[in-house]
Symmetry: C2
Subunit: 214 residues, 2 copies
DNA sequence: TAGATTGTTAATCGATTAACAATC
DNA sequence: TAGATTGTTAATCGATTAACAATC
C-alpha cells in the first residue's frame, strides 16, 4: 500500500470517483491504456487537469503511452478507501431513507447498511430486504457495538440535530446529511451535506438568470 | 425587481440557500434584524464571508444594526429564482424517483413535479399522490407542450444518456442528474450532477485517511 | 456621541490553466 | 529515431481572509 504523501485538494478528490468510473468502463471494453486526454473527455475536463489530478496519486503514467488502466483503478480504490468495507446506519425510514437503503451502488463501493432507524412503531420491526428497521432508541448501542463509522441522516429537518447528537455521542466518525438543515458537530466529526435545496436553488437561479458563460 | 449587476460566484450562490433558511428561522422567531456574525454562526462561516457574499446582492445592511431579515429574505428569493414557479418532470420511477417526487421541500421552493416517466408498463398509468406516471414515450410532447424547463434524472446509469437526449431534443433547459453517470449535453443546457458516488467516495477517503485538518 | 457593524479594499491562499522539457 | 504523452514548473485566475474607514 502506497502512502499518501500529501493532502489531496478537495476538488481533485471529488473528481476521483468520476475518473474511477470512466476507467472501469474502459477496462470493461478491454482497453488497457488510457491517456489524460481520453480520460478528460470522459468526464469533461481538460487533459492538463487530469494530469495534475493524477499527479497527486503518483499515478505512474508513461510518456507516449498513457496510464495503465488496471493500475489506475487500483490507485483510485486505494485513495478513495474503497478497498475496505465500511458499515453505515440510515437514520429515518421515510421515502428517501428507504430509497437510499435500496441503492445498489453502495454495495458496489463497499458500503453495507446495517440497519435503518425510525421512531415510528409502525415501521420498527419490519425488514427492508435484509436490512432491519430498528427503534431509534437502539441507535447508540448498535453504533457502539459494531463500531459503525458512518450515519446517513434522512429524517425531517427539525429532527436532524437531535439524531445527529445521538450518533455523535455513540462515537460516530462521519455524518452524511440529507436533511435540509445545518447541523452542528464537534470538529473531529466529518460532515458531508447533501442538501437538495442547494441544488434546486442554484438550478432555479440559472434557469431564471442564465448561466455564467451566457 | 432589482437586477443582478454582476455574476455571483458559484460558491456564494451555493451558500445562499443556507442563508435563506437561517433567515427564515430568524423570522419565525420574530427577530427582524440579523448581523453578519449571527448569520455566519448559523451556517458555519465567518462574518466577513457573510458580508462579502451579501455584498453581491446589494443586500443593504445598516452599520451598527445588521440586515433587515424580511428584506434579506426577499432578496434571496429573488436571486434564487424562488419567486417564480417552475415545473419539472422526473424521469425514472424507481425508489429514488418516487422519493424525490414525494419530497415536500420542492413545493416549498416553488417547484411542481408534473409527471414521472418510466418505461415499465407495470408502473405506467399509476398515480403517485397527484403525480401521474407516464410512459417515457410521452416525455417529448409533455416537455414541449408545457414548456417544462427542468428534468430530474433518476434512471439507472446505462439509461441516463438516452433519456437526457430525449429531454434535450424536446427543448429542456436544465438537467438535475441523480444517475451515477457522466452525461454529455449541448453547452446551452444547464446540468447539475448530484452524484452519490462522489459523496460516498470522499467520505470514505476521509474515514480512512482522516480529514485535511487532522 | 459612543458603540456596533457594515461595505469595500488589499493581502493571502489555493486551484486551474498553460507551456514545455523529459522520456517512453 | 520520431511521435506521443507524461510530470512539473510557472502564470493566471478566483475565492477567502483580513483589516479598517465609513456610517447608522
Amino acid at each position: 500500500m502506497i502512502a499518501l504523501t500529501t493532502r489531496i485538494p478537495k476538488p481533485t478528490l471529488e473528481r476521483l470517483p468520476l475518473y474511477h468510473r470512466a476507467v472501469e468502463s474502459y477496462l470493461a471494453k478491454d482497453q488497457e491504456a488510457i491517456s489524460s486526454q481520453e480520460l478528460g473527455r470522459e468526464i469533461g475536463v481538460d487533459d492538463y487537469q487530469v494530469r495534475k489530478d493524477l499527479s497527486w496519486l503518483g499515478a505512474g503514467g508513461r510518456p507516449g503511452y498513457g496510464y495503465e488502466a488496471r493500475h489506475l483503478l487500483e490507485r483510485f480504490e486505494e485513495v478513495l478507501g474503497l478497498k475496505r468495507d465500511h458499515t453505515a446506519v440510515v437514520i429515518g425510514a421515510g421515502h428517501l431513507g428507504t430509497a437510499l437503503s435500496h441503492y445498489s451502488g453502495f454495495r458496489r463501493y463497499g458500503l453495507r447498511i446495517l440497519a435503518l432507524f425510525d421512531r415510528d412503531p409502525n415501521k420498527v420491526g419490519k425488514q427492508l430486504g435484509d436490512i432491519p428497521i430498528l427503534d431509534i432508541g437502539e441507535l447508540g448501542s448498535i453504533i457502539k457495538e459494531q463500531h459503525v463509522p458512518l450515519a446517513i441522516i434522512t429524517v425531517p429537518a427539525p429532527e436532524a440535530q437531535r439524531v445527529v447528537n445521538l450518533a455523535v455521542e455513540a462515537g460516530i466518525k462521519a455524518i452524511w446529511n440529507f436533511a435540509p438543515a445545518s447541523i452542528q458537530v464537534p470538529p473531529e466529526i466529518i460532515v458531508r451535506n447533501e442538501d437538495l435545496a442547494v441544488g434546486l436553488a442554484t438550478l432555479s437561479h440559472y434557469i431564471v438568470y442564465g448561466r455564467p458563460s451566457d
